[in-house]
Symmetry: C2
Subunit: 430 residues, 2 copies
C-alpha cells in the first residue's frame, strides 16, 4: 500500500489513529490496548501509525504521542496478560467547549499536525462524555474525526453494554478472595475471629460487592452479608443480620462497598478528599463496620481493604473478561475505519445459559454520564444479599482462568519502550 | 493386621493419633493435614485411627475428636489445595502445669480413653510450647505419648527451620500483588495517585514485608519502600525516602508491616485489643502512613490492608510451599512412629542455587518461644529495602505455581464431613 499524502480536511484512505487510556485502570485495559494495536496492525491499509497518548488525553494535549509501531509484536501480545495502563492513564475531565475552548482547539491542532483521523478512547462514563465533546467540536470546526469509546470500568456501571471489561476480573477476584477468607474465618471462629469485613470498590454501584456473594453456592454454605451502596445503611438492621448469621454459623463474612452510605447520604467512610473529576476519594468503610460490630456484639472482627489489589489482580483474571476486553478493542478499530463516529462497541449477551456473547454497538449519547446501578430485583428482599437473577447475570462473567506466564515465581508483565514521536507544535499549558 | 487390645501404659504396636491445627491458619496448613492423614493411612500397621481435634487443642479437651478415617481419599487429597483449617483452629494457650494441672490431666484422660499414643500439633512458636508441656506432663504421669510439632506460620519467625510452611505462599501473594499494584499506581501517577501503601502481616518479624521487594527485579524497575517492624519507624527519614522515590519515578509503593513501630515501641496502628495469647490485635498502619504522606508531601495516596486475604490466598500459592507443607506433615507421622518425641520436622536448605531442600528434625526445646526476626544483614543500609542476601533467601520460596481446580469460575475447596467419634468421658469445662 502506497502511503497517500495528507490532503487537508477531506478524509483520505489511510490516516493515523490516537488511542488513550482514561480513569482508573483495570486488570484487562491492556488487553483492550492489545486488541486495538493488533487490529490496527492488520488494517495497515487504513491506519498508518497508531499513537498512544502518554497518560491518556493529557498526552494528546501535550503532544506526548507514543509511537506504538516501534513496539515488537511479542511485547504487544504480552499486553493481553499485563494489568494496569501500559501507556499511562489519567484522571482529567475536559470542560464544556464554552469553558475550555482552548483545550479543544489544541486537540484538533494535534490531530491535524499528526494526521490523526481516529480517536479511540478507553474509559468509562466520563470518557464517553469526553469522546462526545471531542467529536462534536471536531464536527463544529469541520475536522473529520471518528471518535470511538472502548468501554472500561471495574465498576460495571456503564450503560449500554451487558457488562464492562474490567468488571469480570474484579468480580472473580472478589468472589475467590471471599471464598478463601470465609474458609479462614470459619476455621478461627471458635476461639478467635467471628466476622471478617472485606471492603471492595464501587463508588455508587454495588456490582463488585454483589460478586462476593458468588463465593457461596450449593457446595459452599458460607454466611455472607453485603452492604450495597444502593441500599441506605441502617446500622440496627445490619447488626441484627450479622448477629443472626453468627448465631447460626458461629461466623460470617461481610462485604462492604466503599460507597456504602447512610440514609442521610453520608458515606460510611469519607476521607474528605476528592479526585480531579470531583468524586470523593473513599476508603475505610471496613474498619468502621468492624468497630461497629465489635462494639455492638462483642465479636472479634478482622477487616481488609482491597483497594488497588482488586483492580490490578491480573493473576486471577476472568478469561471471559480478558476475551471481551480484547474484542471491544479490536471492534473499536473496525468500527472506526468503517466510518462510525461517537459510538461504543458493547458486549451483547446472546444467551444466558449456556452463556454466549457478541459485540454490538451503541451511540455514546446513550452512554455518557449515565450510571447503571444494581437493580433492586438483583438485591434480596432484606437488602443484604443477591437474588438468583443477579447470580445468573454475574456467574458467566467470572468463567475461565487466564493465568499470565510466570518466571522465577512471578508473573511476567510487559513494560513497553513508550517512545514518543517528535513534537510538531508549540508546548501547551494544561 | 489384627488390632491389639489396649494394654495399660505400655506402648503397643498400633495406637491412635491426635492431629490438631493451632493459631492463625494459612493457605497450606491443610496441605500438612493432607500429608499427615495420607501418611497415617499408609502406616495402618502402626496407626489405628487418626483423630483431628475440632478446633485444635480445644477439641482434645472437649473430646471433640473428628474421625478422619470416615473421610474419602479424594476429600483428603483435596485438602492439599484447600486453604484455612479444615478441622478448625484455635487461639488457646495452655498455662503451666502449676497453673492449670486440670487441663493437662484432662488431655491425658482423653488420650487414654481413645488410645492416643501420638500427639501431632500443627502450629507455630506457641504451639511448640504446648507440645513440650504436654510431652513433659505425659512423661511425669507415666503416659507414653509422642509429641511432634508440624511447623506452620505465615510469619516465618519459627526458629530451627529454614522456612516455615505458610510463609512461601503469603510471600508469593505479597510479591505478586505488589508487582500488580505498582504497575497500577505507575499508570495513574501523572494526574492522580502517587503512592500506594500496602499493609501486610508480621507482628514482630518483617519477613512478609520483605517479600514485597521481590516485585522489583532487573526487568521491573519499581520503586518500593518497606517499613519493617525490626527498624524503629522514623517519620522524617521515611517521608524523605518516599519523596526521593517520587521525585525520581513520579510514584512509589510502600509496604508497611502491621507490626511497624516507633522508637518508643508504640505500634503505628494499635487497635487497643488483644487476642487470647495476649498479643495486641493490629491493623490500620496503612491508613496512618497514607495520611502522613498526604499531609507532609501533598501526594494523593491509596492504601490497602490485606489481612486474611494474604494468608488464605490459596489461588496464588507457592508450589514450593505446598510441597514443603505436605512433606512436614508426612514426616511428622514417620518421626512419631519411629519413636521420636518433643521434636519438629524442619525444612533444611541443602543448596541455595539451584535451590534444594530436605526434611531434618529439631528438638522443640530449641523452637518454643523463640522468634526469628529478619537479620539486620537482610535489610538494606537505609532500612527501607532488602539486600541481595535476603533476595537469595526469599526467591526460592515463591517458586512454582500450584493452582487449585476451578469449576464454574471458582476454586473448588474441600469441606469435610468432620464426624466426631462418641465421647467416652464426662464433659469438661474449658
Amino acid at each position: 500500500m502506497v502511503e497517500r499524502p495528507m490532503i487537508g480536511r477531506i478524509p483520505h484512505l489511510r490516516q493515523n489513529a490516537f488511542y488513550g487510556q482514561s480513569g482508573g485502570v483495570t486488570a484487562v485495559i491492556n488487553a483492550s490496548a492489545c486488541g486495538v494495536i493488533e487490529a490496527a496492525r492488520q488494517q495497515s491499509a487504513k491506519i498508518g501509525k497508531l499513537f498512544a497518548g502518554r497518560n491518556g488525553i493529557i498526552g494528546a494535549l501535550n503532544e506526548d504521542l507514543i509511537d506504538t509501531t516501534e513496539e515488537r509484536n511479542d511485547a504487544i501480545a504480552a499486553l493481553r496478560h499485563t494489568p494496569a495502563g501500559a501507556f499511562g492513564s489519567c484522571r482529567f475531565k475536559l470542560k464544556d467547549f464554552e469553558g475550555d475552548r482552548r483545550s479543544y482547539e489544541r486537540l484538533i491542532a494535534v490531530c491535524k499536525a499528526h494526521d490523526i483521523g481516529y480517536f479511540l478512547y478507553n474509559g468509562g462514563g466520563d470518557s464517553a462524555d469526553t469522546c462526545i465533546k471531542i467529536s462534536q467540536f471536531a464536527e463544529r470546526v469541520g475536522y473529520p474525526l471518528r471518535s470511538v469509546l472502548i468501554p472500561k470500568t471495574i465498576d460495571n456501571d456503564l450503560f449500554g453494554t451487558d457488562t464492562c471489561p474490567g468488571f469480570g476480573s474484579v468480580a472473580k477476584y472478589v468472589a475467590v478472595s471471599t471464598r478463601e477468607a470465609s474458609f479462614d474465618v470459619r476455621s478461627m471462629s471458635r476461639s478467635s475471629t467471628k466476622v471478617f469485613v472485606f471492603e471492595v470498590m464501587g463508588r455508587h454501584a454495588g456490582w463488585i460487592a454483589a460478586a462476593g456473594a458468588l463465593a457461596a453456592d450449593e457446595n459452599n454454605d458460607l454466611p455472607i452479608a453485603i452492604v450495597f451502596p444502593e441500599i441506605a445503611f441502617d446500622s440496627a438492621r445490619f447488626i441484627a443480620r450479622v448477629k443472626a448469621m453468627v448465631d447460626s454459623y458461629d461466623y460470617c463474612t461481610v462485604i462492604v462497598s466503599e460507597g456504602a452510605r447512610r440514609a442521610d447520604g453520608r458515606f460510611l467512610a469519607d476521607q474528605g478528599t476528592s479526585d480531579a473529576f470531583g468524586h470523593k476519594q473513599l476508603g475505610g468503610a471496613a474498619p468502621v463496620v468492624a468497630r461497629m460490630l465489635s462494639s455492638a456484639l462483642g465479636y472479634k472482627c478482622h477487616w481488609a481493604v482491597a483497594d488497588y489489589l482488586q483492580r490490578s489482580a491480573r493473576h486471577v483474571a476472568s478469561r471471559t473478561d480478558v476475551d471481551q476486553a480484547y474484542a471491544v478493542g479490536k471492534a473499536a478499530v473496525e468500527m472506526a475505519i468503517a466510518g462510525e463516529n461517537a459510538i461504543m462497541p458493547a458486549i451483547v449477551r446472546t444467551c444466558g445459559e449456556p452463556y454466549t456473547w457478541t459485540i454490538g454497538k451503541v451511540s455514546l449519547a446513550h452512554v455518557a454520564n449515565v450510571e447503571k446501578l444494581l437493580p433492586r430485583e438483583f438485591i434480596s428482599a432484606d437488602g443484604f444479599g443477591i437474588t438468583s437473577a443477579c447470580r445468573a447475570y454475574l456467574l458467566p462473567l467470572i468463567q475461565g482462568e487466564d493465568y499470565p506466564p510466570y518466571e522465577n515465581g512471578l508473573p511476567q508483565f510487559a513494560t513497553l519502550m513508550n517512545k514518543c514521536v517528535p513534537k510538531r507544535l508549540e508546548p501547551f499549558e494544561l
